[in-house]
């Protein structure tokens, strides 16, 4: 048993305290929050004992905002101001969405689809932030303290724009994102750790609006994603819509208004859920026109209506197997995730494809949140053993536009993250000082068939003859799956100036404006917030350096150690009385002062990892 750590009387035990960290499954239909307590991952319940929070946000006439069951109950009477399935709109433009059968007034603004409500024009990022705020409040009330951070899950097949939008939403909700985690990977963590599984597993994740398939190799706590594929616009919602269209066809209704659309979509969802363990479903409703709908849908009819949707999930599985260079016989188990996998026709199709019964012993609605909580607990540093490690991949290739509207791949899909790739460019004309670079994501060869991520302008290239300049552009995708770009002219070693124009999503300024609006515009508020943020950063850094000194202080000479400690004391002295700016400056100075220490530490950590195994070879 581990010894209990007891601190000196009067000294804070803060660095060793259990840090409050949560996992959040921000779903299309429902969202959940979970945390690890006493070593067990649990979903946190609301005051009424509900685990699920319907991902529905309603802007009320009195200016308040409802999130969850109340909003869901009002969706038929107030469809335009009640946003459901907002996840489908994240990081998307108007042209990406099928707007038929949607009751909203869409606006295409700043290259991102937005919805007009009585509370003004709302971006999907703001709507998602309301859901996240509700979950944050639930967690803080239940756990009795402020959260250190959260792991938020995203579909594995989300592209850069969709991931960035999710991270922005968390920021608006005041959450510190420890990591964006792919949903199937989160499910694998919950499943794998629960069952102590080893081998190759397929995660089949059909949620409300997204489909993901991931193939993972599980071995001694390392979860290595071998390949992932999917469809970020296919989910349980589509099954509802098939029933909805069937109702319209068979009741010979005229095109219905927004309110009736919402009512019938709800009826369709109820019929789908009923058919999970019944042979037929009765669909009855009275429309606003007085028309009466009374239909009976059998399991067989439902299966026929949706067989193309079921088949649509098999193509990504084949692609993922091919990418991982595996066949069906190599698979040790198939885990079902997402509420939509309760449909019997899905389970049958998957069993038939893999020639084995899929695993359904964990609640498909909760497994993602439970896995995210386990990862959050590890990332927050609550677990001392380093057994759990997730190695995920980039779902879609990254490329650049070349001559003739073609895409040249720079980073292929299913590359393990983090990854960095550099590409050299040169100038086309004498004296050229700028160039434009277009980054795209997708598998197709034509620019028009891929998703445009950003246009970069490189400026400040020294004027040379055509072809003489060498501009090295480095693309980095971090562990969250997010892209960043840096550029350098290698002949003169000039750091080129990059202007990033994201093709979708919100600019930094828009986010700052939203933050300002949500926290009140008063100057004192802004200063108070800046001070609070500076203090959080400073405290975090002090803790991190103290930990590093405790573990590897021996790497430093006593003089070096004293220099760092002096900077630490200077910063500590400012924490109580200093201004935000002063704390910020002292934090930066401390960061700079520890650069070489960090470099030495990481080198030692890697060598230590291989210690005892051919150490001579390491020192080559």
């Amino acid at each position: 048993m581990a010894l209990l750590q007891i601190s000196e009387p009067g000294q804070s035990a803060a660095p060793h305290q259990h840090k409050l960290a949560v996992g959040i499954d921000l779903g299309t239909t429902n969202s959940l929050v979970a945390t690890v307590r006493s070593g067990v991952s649990n979903v946190l319940l609301d005051a009424h004992g509900h685990a699920l929070l319907p991902s529905v946000v309603r802007y009320l006439p009195d200016g308040n905002i409802d999130v969850g069951y109340d909003a869901q109950a009002a969706q038929s009477i107030d469809p335009q101001n009640t946003i459901v399935s907002v996840k489908r709109f994240m990081g998307r433009g108007l042209k990406d969405i099928d707007v038929s059968n949607q009751p909203y007034h869409f606006v295409d603004q700043s290259n991102m689809l937005q919805v007009e409500t009585r509370a003004g024009i709302k971006s999907p990022v703001e709507v998602s932030a309301e859901i996240l705020k509700a979950l944050k409040t639930r967690a803080e009330n239940t756990l009795g303290g402020e959260l250190v951070g959260a792991v938020i899950t995203v579909p594995a097949y989300f592209d850069d724009a969709q991931r960035q939008a999710t991270k922005d939403a968390a920021r608006l909700a005041g959450l510190n994102v420890l990591r964006l985690l792919n949903e199937p990977t989160a499910a694998a963590v919950a499943y794998g750790l629960d069952n102590a599984s080893e081998g190759i597993y397929v995660i089949y994740d059909l949620g409300g609006g997204t489909f993901d398939v991931s193939i993972l190799k599980l071995s001694k706590g390392v979860f290595e994603v071998l390949a992932t594929n999917g469809d970020s616009a296919l989910g349980g919602d589509d099954f509802d819509r098939r029933i909805f269209c069937w109702i319209l066809e068979h009741s010979k209704c005229k095109p219905v208004n927004a309110q009736d659309t919402r009512t019938l979509l709800t009826k369709a969802r109820e019929a789908k859920e009923w058919l999970t363990d019944h042979a037929n479903a009765q669909i009855t409703s009275i429309l606003s026109t007085g028309e009466v709908i009374n239909l009976s849908l059998t399991t067989q009819q439902f299966n026929e209506l949706t067989q193309t949707l079921v088949a649509k999930t098999l193509a990504p599985i084949k692609k993922a197997l091919r990418d991982a260079q595996l066949c069906v016989d190599d698979i040790d188990g198939v885990v079902m995730v997402g509420g939509a996998t309760r449909m019997p026709q899905i389970r049958l199709a998957v069993a038939d494809f893999f020639k084995q019964t899929p695993l359904t012993n964990l609640d498909p609605d909760k497994v993602v949140a439970l896995g995210a909580a386990i990862q959050a607990n590890t990332l927050a540093g609550n677990k001392s053993d380093k057994d759990l490690l997730l190695l995920d991949v980039i779902p879609l290739s990254l490329g650049l536009e070349t001559m003739g509207g073609l895409v040249e791949k720079i980073i292929p899909r299913n590359s393990t993250l983090p990854i960095a790739r550099a590409q050299e460019f040169t100038t086309f004309k004498d004296g050229q000082t700028a160039m434009s670079i277009h980054v795209l994501q997708g598998e197709r060869e034509l620019v028009t068939d891929c998703r445009s991520l950003a246009q970069f302008e490189l400026r400040g290239i020294p004027p040379l003859v055509a072809g003489a300049a060498r501009i090295r552009v480095t693309f980095t995708v971090d562990a969250d799956g997010l892209l960043s770009v840096s550029a350098r002219e290698t002949i003169s070693n000039v750091e080129a100036n990059i202007t990033v124009k994201p093709s979708y999503g919100l600019s930094e300024q828009q986010i700052l404006d939203m933050l300002k609006n949500s926290f009140g515009a008063a100057e004192t508020d802004k200063q108070a917030r800046a001070l609070a943020e500076a203090k959080v950063d400073a405290t975090g850094l002090l803790t991190a350096i103290q930990t590093a000194l405790d573990q590897d202080g021996s790497l430093l000479s006593s003089k070096e150690k004293q220099a760092i400690k002096a900077k630490m004391n200077a910063l500590r002295g400012l924490l109580d009385a200093g201004s935000g700016d002063a704390i910020h400056t002292a934090t930066e100075q401390l960061n700079t002062a520890t650069e070489s220490f960090a470099a030495k530490r990481l080198d030692v950590i890697v060598s230590r990892a291989l210690a005892g195994k051919n150490i001579d070879a390491v020192d080559l």
Binding site: G149, K319, L379, L389, P418, A598, I605, A617
Partner: protein, 173 residues
């Protein structure tokens, strides 16, 4: 930080390597240096960890693939296997690659997945035999000129395999 991919994982720079050892060493390095271990670290630590994890991924990808491993071994001897000046190929191999390409095109046109699968199996056998040759050329004979030519053959074979897979993927969806 060590720039040599073999040294990073404590391996000797040979063509024939034990893939299980490679995988275990890779996991070991990532277990310690991955950015997940430095979420609450200093900015510098985060940057360092990011660099090591990125290099480890790149090194693992390179050493795992026989063709990339061979090209990397040559690059350590300052030989660029895929340089534009380095295109000489024996006539026999050129003939065969033309045949493979023709079969691929015919199968694509006909939408014949079975034919593509057969070609794929043939190419995989070809790749296996080239890999056996490379093991001898690098580790026993130390004949870098012949190794360079065989490496180019393997890179070409891999390219055909990738194109077949892509064609099957398009036909299946």
């Amino acid at each position: 930080m060590n720039e040599n991919y073999f040294a990073l994982f404590g391996l000797s720079p040979t063509f024939n390597i034990d893939l299980t050892t490679l995988e275990n060493r890779f996991r070991k390095v990532q277990s310690e240096a991955h950015p997940d271990r430095f979420v609450s670290g200093t900015d510098t630590e985060k940057l360092q960890s990011m660099q090591i994890a990125t290099t480890a991924n790149e090194a693992y990808t390179t050493l795992k693939s026989p063709a990339l491993r061979a090209a990397y071994l040559l690059s350590l001897q300052n030989i660029n296997a895929v340089a534009e000046t380095n295109t000489a190929m024996p006539a026999g191999f050129l003939m065969r690659q033309m045949e493979w390409r023709e079969t691929l095109e015919d199968a694509k046109q006909a939408g014949n997945i079975e034919m593509l699968e057969r070609l794929l199996a043939e190419m995989r056998t070809e790749a296996k035999s080239l890999q056996t040759d490379l093991g001898k050329l690098f580790d026993e004979k130390e004949d870098l000129t012949a190794a360079c030519e065989t490496t180019r053959k393997l890179i070409f074979t891999d390219k055909v395999i990738a194109d077949i897979n892509k064609a099957i993927e398009i036909l299946e969806s």
